[in-house]
């Protein structure tokens, strides 16, 4: 916890400042999620948020240019959480098994936090569009799914479209009708099997 500078360690000072700043931003985003769970995603008040992080409302502008910029940071954060949520998945050599686990995770992830799901997968905040930097994280996740599909021999655009619709459908129903439960999570394997059977039955192109 020493605040003393090491001689010759000059660059460490701005680094420490950057670390502190990043930590504060992380705290703000975390509290913003907490607020959204209480008042809805669109119901976040910047004054309430400032209270939670021991700041005055104008001081939030030292970290975010606008409320939409806060949503953008939350969007990036949520997508990073999604990547982390599926990070330990290692291919077993059985594509059907891998896809099933992948789908289960996605549905569970959405079910775990409805507001997060709303921000990541629904366009609900008027005027909000993710920045290219934040969107890149979302693309990274999509690529991970595409790689799994590729390993299962799925690459045609219509087949990929079908798969994304299946994932979206399971998550949507899970979130809307059984949040926190597993009524649709439980159908992940069935859906993947059904999907692969359908795709493999199509004539090769």
């Amino acid at each position: 916890m020493s605040e003393a500078e090491q001689p010759g360690a000059e660059p460490s000072v701005p680094d420490r400042r950057a670390v502190r700043r990043a930590a504060k931003i992380a705290t703000i985003v975390e509290e913003a999620w907490a607020l959204s769970r209480a008042d809805g995603l669109a119901g976040i008040s910047l004054r309430d948020l400032a209270d939670r992080v021991d700041l005055r409302q104008p001081s939030l502008y030292a970290y975010f240019d606008s409320k939409l910029a806060l949503y953008d940071a939350m969007f990036a954060d949520g997508n990073r959480q999604l990547l982390a949520y599926t990070a330990d998945l290692t291919p077993t050599g059985n594509p059907e098994q891998d896809l099933t686990e992948f789908v289960s995770r996605i549905v569970r992830f959405s079910s775990d936090d409805v507001e997060r799901h709303q921000l990541l997968f629904q366009r609900t905040i008027p005027g909000f569009e993710p920045s290219p930097e934040s969107y890149a994280i979302a693309i990274e996740f999509l690529n991970r799914g595409a790689a799994l599909l590729q390993a299962a021999g799925v690459s045609r655009a219509e087949d990929v479209d079908l798969f994304t619709a299946l994932c979206a459908g399971l998550t949507h129903q899970q979130v809307a009708n059984d949040p926190g439960g597993d009524r649709w999570v439980a159908q992940a394997r069935r859906v993947v099997t059904m999907f692969l059977t359908e795709v493999r039955q199509q004539p090769r192109e």
Copy 2:
């Protein structure tokens, strides 16, 4: 346009008033949809809405107790539109064909109006929950779908859950990634065939 009362036609006056009132409410709801298409569902301003229907903002409260009550009227209206959109579907005796047409209609309906889809199928407005009366209309539509499934020999809860997820997935992807288009509408038949094949392959209970 006579305002004179007919002798002995006393009950017709409150009736006419009720009709006028209902017509005004219908106009307000219609303009609310138009506004939501421009500014987003959550972006509706009661002042803008009042302007569109030649009222001052507080006068809207003669028709709706709150903004949430307006959303409730829109929810009921949207579900009535959905019922009307599928009203001319008559069973052909071919359940697969009937289900396909049903799914196509649902997806197209959602694709036609993203904000309407958002209000009907997503929980996006903080604090909004449909009233029992409005929700009953939604249930009526669900029952229509359940009847079609029954005709196709589908009645198990897991199978119905799977079907609703398939519908939700197609509509979600269509709305999110190709609004107004038909990229996922075009997969309706494929999805229904895939679904019925899967369901009929399960052991009878």
